[in-house]
Symmetry: C2
DNA sequence: GTCATCATGTAAGCCGTTACATGATTGC
DNA sequence: GCAATCATGTAACGGCTTACATGATGAC
């Protein structure tokens, strides 16, 4: 989930971790907040995997030839590090080609996503082709419809007031979600028609 | 969360783990399923803490005096184990006095619960006194209202169609939740009036 | 007698959190 | 020069999942 959100935000802008956290909070809303303790390790992991990479953002590309001396090597390393560290030691990340592919993969993934992950996918679904987006919406709608049918069997009707009220409210909520998805699906279908 | 759900279900009936899992699935619905891998360790933890205890369910209370011999001790242990293990090696748990107190604590806990936990609390709130229940509903309503006001500031109005649709749908969902809570609150208040 | 189901548990691992440690930059 | 904020990371830990191991019981 965090990978999806990070790659999605970086698709728009190159950003450093701290700023990324703010954007993620905006994207995820009150649903969940990403903490530094998970963000930075995630960025490191994504970098190792080649999906994001630190980009240079101050122009000082001093050549750093390998000298063979330990001191020289260290200086070269420092220079290389400085290359990708900004004013406050910031490390600005950008999406690689493979990262963009990965984002696409994660968005299309047919596994049933939990509620939060689905919301994140919708927030980023402008990066999908129309048929892929349509499939995303339809899968979700079907999943919610399945939940509705699976549930509606109260155990012998012997429910207390609060539990019954909760279940009824749940049913209404899911129905609202389905209605919303129906709208989205209809809109996508209409646009597909137009395109032909 | 799992503690709350377990104690809440055991408040009604003594149950063994396997059956408990089924009831929990019913209580939590599609929200989340508890796996054995978390249920059994949780039960063991709650037993150590003295909130639940294995209850006898076949009548065979053979006296098991300590004999001093290893063999005797072992036999005594086996007898004691057998005492609380049912036909299929089932171990039936029941709520202790302290467990009931703990359940009450968890239900009243003023910390903001996440969405799932709140649903579980509502499902179990018949175990609360009316004023406590009222407080539970009001806290949740206020929290949702806070979310609504905190969010409604789109970043410069430059949102794409899908993100805007998502945010609007979210707003509607939260408003529906608030309306539902208002009903519950009103009902509790009416009953409180009656009681006087 | 064997297969499905019931029943309990352990182990490894993932994902995330909080708390901590560190240091640079800006505003006053 | 000092505090607030920006910025990056590490360490310890918690909770939950999947997969595995084990064995009893009942149906056929």
């Amino acid at each position: 989930m965090i990978d999806l959100a990070i790659l999605g935000v970086l698709k728009e802008h190159d950003l450093h971790g701290y700023e990324l956290k703010k954007r993620l909070a905006g994207l995820l809303g009150a649903r969940s907040t990403v903490s530094f303790g998970s963000l930075y390790p995630a960025l490191a992991r994504l970098e190792r995997a080649g999906f994001v990479k630190a980009v240079e953002h101050n122009t000082a590309p001093l050549p750093t030839p390998s000298s063979g001396s330990l001191v020289g090597e260290l200086a070269a390393f420092r220079a290389r590090v400085r290359e990708v560290r900004g004013s406050r030691g910031k490390k600005v990340y950008g999406l690689t080609e493979r990262g963009a592919q990965r984002l696409h993969e994660l968005l299309c993934d047919a596994d049933v996503a939990d509620d939060r992950e689905f919301a994140v996918r919708v927030a980023l679904c402008r990066h999908l082709e129309r048929p892929e987006r349509l499939a995303l919406f339809e899968r979700r709608r079907d999943e919610l419809a399945r939940r509705l049918t699976e549930r509606d069997e109260p155990q012998g009707g012997r429910l207390d007031t609060y539990l019954r009220s909760l279940l009824e409210h749940d049913t209404r909520s899911i129905s609202n979600d389905i209605a919303w998805l129906d709208e989205l699906v209809a809109a996508e279908r209409a646009h597909l028609q137009e395109d032909t």
